[in-house]
Amino acid sequence: MIQLFHVSKEYPGDGPALDDVSLNVEKGEFVFLTGPSGAGKSTLLKLVFCDEAPTSGQLLLFGKNVAKLPARAVPYLRRNIGVVFQDFKLLPRRTVAENVALPLEVQALPPKEIRRRVRALLRSVGLEHRGDKLPPSLSGGEQQRVAVVRALAAAPALLLADEPTGNLDPERTLEVMELLASASARGTTVVVATHDRSILERYKRRVLVLEHGRLVSDGASIRRAARGTP
């Protein structure tokens, strides 16, 4: 599903944000990505999402070399990927319901079907009464949940979630993680970047640990991940 071969990413005027990272995420896998602040987690997700291009190395997505993809193919690729951005990236002048509907409208689903799905999604995170609000008038945690269900809306084959529970209380955190887990159970490949050790401990899955842009640990054990961070 996601294959990186010696991928590096250097932002101009900086040391490398990603340094010779090679990894392989299979279809249907549920993977955590962790590591200290500034380690390169978001950068890795941006590469997978075709928001940035690697400085060197190869990135294969759905078996295709991303570097060889023409620019106009990117939107269609992205429709198979749901992303929860670390800073949410909600449209401030569209209602919550419209934000969640956006990935569906891009794909021109029938309006009735869109409304049905959006309602169900908002209900799943306890925001059914917030559909007509604009995002700036939501609390931080409410915005984060909107971002989560927008990523899930189009039932994408790949789900990237960058710190999707940073603004949530423990109960809401569990709720969101269950949503991601059940998407994974339906066959979606899920990559979650997180700092929350309690999540890593509760869900015993594969954990990738980044440090200074290098992949320092890749395995099922949370212990190794914990050792990875000094």
């Binding site: 992205r78 990236k89 002048r93 956006l102 990935p103 409208e105 891009v106 927008r150």
Partner: protein, 296 residues
């Protein structure tokens, strides 16, 4: 991408209602720009008409030698200038006219004897060119009893040159103004799109094609253009209605009717121009923003 005009129109309307400030400024800018352009065009058109009407007032005067037969001269002049209006004026009438026209200054006529002015025959020659006026004057000189023929050569030449130059200059000025207007409007629309660049970026991130992102902006630009242009056309008509009593008072009411000053073709062109500049301005700035995002 499926073609969904209704969907995109709804999107555009939503955006305009929720971000009224940017929409209002865009519309106001187009309104002001189109109004100024229209005002200028109307003024140029009016000046042309005034000049033409003035050229239409050109008369050729045949001054008769003392004792000549006014009626016979009139008949001869009519024969030499077929199809033109010919009028006979006695010397007494001419002197009266002059005294009236001089008003307070009529006293300069004190040293002027009653024989200073002669009988004359006037030939109306609307729209005549300088060369034609000269030739006609030369022919009229053979009218029996004609002492001299006046066709205003002292003024017709410079007039023709002035009109020619004014016409070129106005055309250049008008082109410059229309261009400047288009630049100013498109600058405003650029900033309007710029203020919403985050939206464009986010839409691209959730898998929207360039066309999907651009469509509502284009419709917004078009709507602002139509609205601004339409209001400007309405504003020009209102402005005409406001000055129309003054035009009538100046005796120009018949010359500059609303259809003359603001012909439907001009109004239509203004609305269309507003719509075009709104559409193009939005299109260019959206294209630029999309390009900037994809290369970043």
């Amino acid at each position: 991408m499926t073609f969904r005009p209704l969907y995109f129109t709804r999107r555009a309307m939503d955006a305009m209602i929720r971000g009224p400030y940017v929409t209002l400024i865009g519309t106001a800018t187009i309104f002001v720009a189109v109004f100024a352009t229209g005002l200028f065009a109307a003024a140029l058109g009016g000046a042309e008409r005034l000049l033409a009407a003035w050229a239409g007032e050109v008369r050729i005067s045949i001054y008769l030698a003392p004792g000549a037969d006014l009626a016979a001269a009139r008949a001869a002049a009519a024969a030499a200038a077929p199809g033109r209006e010919v009028r006979a004026v006695t010397s007494a009438e001419a002197l009266r006219d002059l005294a009236v026209e001089l008003g307070d200054e009529a006293r300069v006529l004190e040293g002027v004897g009653p024989g200073a002015l002669s009988d004359e025959v006037q030939v109306a020659a609307p729209g005549i060119s300088l060369a034609e006026a000269r030739a006609l004057a030369a022919r009229l000189r053979s009218v029996p009893g004609a002492a001299d023929v006046d066709y205003g050569e002292a003024l017709l030449g410079p007039l023709e040159r002035f009109v020619r130059r004014a016409r070129t200059t106005s055309a250049v000025l008008f082109a410059a103004l229309a261009l400047a207007t288009a630049v100013l409007v498109s600058n405003t629309l650029r900033l309007a799109v710029f203020a919403r660049r985050d939206e464009i970026e986010i839409m691209k991130l959730v898998g929207a094609t360039d066309a999907f992102v651009a469509a509502p902006f284009l419709i917004e630009g078009l709507a602002q253009g139509l609205l601004g242009g339409g209001l400007a056309a309405g504003g020009l008509l209102a402005a005409y209605a406001a000055v129309s009593p003054r035009l009538h008072a100046a005796g120009l009411g018949r010359l500059l009717t609303v259809r003359d000053a603001l012909p439907p073709s001009l109004l239509l062109a203004l609305v269309a121009g507003g719509a075009l500049v709104g559409l193009l301005g939005s299109a260019l700035s959206v294209a630029r923003t999309l390009r900037r995002i994809s290369t970043s």
